[in-house]
């Protein structure tokens, strides 16, 4: 795999005057079956940041993502997203939070009986968006992710990379402040993986905070972005311009 030829966007400025869009304070999480998923996690992500969340299977990456989208609540500590303490968000209001966070997954999760356009439009229809807004927004998003020509194709007619692009377009329908990508390249070949990462960088450059959970060492090592490493539920490393593993040299 080769690194991207064009220059990367500048790293976002991280400093005390940049309000974190994600803030976890001493977060612990234990599942009802007693399995401890996270221990005393502290993490601040400023708006516009791009960070890799790395770690082996079972390290707690997926649990952390479940907390961020409020599928779960922490057992201890506080999770604050865009200024909202998730423990204080009423269940009936969770949908408002989720419109501020786009999520993409390794398995794309597209609806197989809908075209690409319909999949993206569906995310707007289910939130009561007006028809005019949907007709305007969907083609623009498909243009952004490079799927214009496949607008009327069903997922089964697309490659893995194209399906992931469709999923990214869907995740962006509400113009979210945060895009969470959970192993977005896990099912893709190396070249397609790079294309997806390039797309995420492009989205980040437009101002969206991107948190990408991955085990793709080549991508992380080549990108030299902020890396948060989890092991056994704890943050063991949080470095700017870092590699997948401590002490890695290009």
């Amino acid at each position: 795999m080769t690194a991207p030829a064009r220059p990367l966007p500048a790293l976002p400025r991280i400093g005390p005057d940049t309000a974190p869009v994600i803030a976890l304070t001493e977060v612990g999480m234990t599942y009802p079956n007693g399995k401890v998923a996270l221990i005393d996690v502290n993490l601040e992500v400023p708006a516009g940041d791009f960070l890799f969340l790395v770690g082996p299977s079972g390290a707690g990456k997926s649990s952390l993502i479940r907390l961020l989208v409020r599928e779960q609540l922490p057992t201890t500590g506080r999770v604050v997203i865009a200024g909202s303490d998730l423990a204080k968000v009423r269940r009936s209001q969770v949908y408002r939070l989720r419109r501020r966070i786009g999520v993409v997954f390794q398995d794309f999760r597209l609806l197989p009986n809908k075209t690409v356009t319909e999949n993206v439009a569906f995310a707007l229809e289910v939130t009561g968006a007006a028809g005019d807004h949907i007709r305007d927004r969907v083609p623009r998003l498909l243009g952004l992710v490079g799927l214009h020509e496949h607008a009327n194709h069903r997922p089964s007619q697309l490659s893995g990379g194209e399906q992931q692009r469709a999923a990214i377009a869907r995740a962006l329908v509400h113009d979210p402040a945060i895009l969470i990508a959970d192993e977005p390249t896990g099912n893709l070949d190396p070249v397609t993986s790079w294309e997806i990462v390039q797309l995420l960088i492009q989205i980040n450059a437009m101002g969206t905070t991107v948190l990408m959970a991955t085990r793709n060492q080549e991508v992380v090592n080549a990108m030299r972005r902020r890396v948060v490493a989890l092991e056994n539920g704890s943050v063991v490393r949080d470095e700017l311009g870092a590699a997948y593993e401590r002490g890695y040299e290009l």
Binding site: V69, R70, E71, L73, R91, S92, V94, Y95, R96, L97, R98, R99, V103, R109, L111, F122, A123, E125, V126, T127, G128, A129, A130, R170, A171, V173, H174
Partner: protein
């Protein structure tokens, strides 16, 4: 505008769901029809019996046959005293001539002529006591029995009581049967919607992730259940309307239900069937959505 979009979305999704979940939707709708046909049958029978009861109630009264040659003054006195008994609406003296006139009229109504074979017949004079309270029959009988001029007393109270008992029994058995079938229907709708929720779990997950609010996620399933109930009700109303032709003369002749009343009865029955279909569909789907579709967290 927001509510109209929500309504449009909900109706479209419910319709798609009903269609896609075809076999289960059909089964649930068929059970709704079964229950509503039972309900309609029970209500028609009860309505007929109620009409019959009203008819008898209007006729309930006490007839006191008088001995011969009671003076007009005495008849007036007895009438006034009986009229003072609580529960008595009116007391009417029927002379032997009037009684004969009525008999001849009754024959003519059946298309016959009273044939006495040339003999002159004399009927008894009587006092006909109309009751404002059907329960007062016993007291009136007791009051009339005190007069030596009263030869025999007849009443329709027994007939009334028997019919009242039959109506009570049919109502109880019918309601128990309908409640049992109703439970089966709710169970069917619950299962239909449960299968719909599972078959669309992928969509529901995506809806949650992209920030659909609970009403957008839940109401299409609830409306899908309501559709089962409403379609079932529409089919039942159609069946009742088809059967109404043969049933109506039966209600009029057997139960003495007036035609105008039976037409009103059909309209009321149709409204009730639609309401029950709607409620039972909504109830079943609401229970299913509550237990199978946890809220947003």
């Amino acid at each position: 505008m927001g509510f109209i979009r929500f309504l449009g979305f909900t109706l479209a999704r419910a319709g798609q769901g009903f269609w896609r979940n075809g076999m289960m939707s059909l089964a649930a709708t068929a059970t709704v029809v079964l229950m509503l046909v039972l309900l309609a049958g029970l209500l028609i029978v009860l309505g007929g019996l109620d009409s019959g009861l009203n008819y008898i109630e209007s006729k309930v009264g006490v007839t006191a046959r008088l001995v011969d040659d009671v003076s007009a003054q005495r008849i007036e006195q007895i009438s006034a005293e009986v009229e003072a008994v609580p529960g008595v609406a009116a007391v009417e003296y029927v002379s032997p001539d009037e009684a004969l006139g009525r008999l001849e009229e009754a024959y003519r109504a059946r298309g016959q002529e009273l044939d006495t074979g040339g003999a002159e017949i004399t009927l008894y004079a009587s006092l006909e006591v109309a009751l404002s309270d059907p329960e007062a029959g016993d007291e009136v009988v007791a009051a009339l029995a005190l007069y030596p001029e009263v030869e025999r007393i007849t009443t329709r109270q027994d007939q009334y009581d028997t019919l009242l008992g039959v109506i009570g029994l049919i109502r109880t058995i019918g309601l128990v049967a309908i409640v049992l079938v109703g439970l089966v229907v709710v169970f069917m709708v619950v299962n239909t919607i449960r299968i719909a929720v599972y078959s669309r779990s992928g969509e529901v997950e995506i809806m949650r992730l992209v920030g659909a609010s609970d009403p957008f996620i839940r109401w299409p399933f609830i409306v899908e259940g309501i559709l089962c109930g409403l379609i079932g009700a529409a089919v039942t109303v159609g069946l009742v309307a088809l059967a109404w032709g043969p049933i109506q003369p039966l209600l009029v002749s057997v139960f003495q239900m007036p035609t105008a009343v039976s037409d009103q009865f059909l309209a009321g029955l149709a409204v009730l069937l639609v309401a029950v279909g709607l409620v039972i569909g909504a109830l079943g789907s609401w229970i299913s959505v509550r237990s199978n579709l946890s809220s947003a967290a």
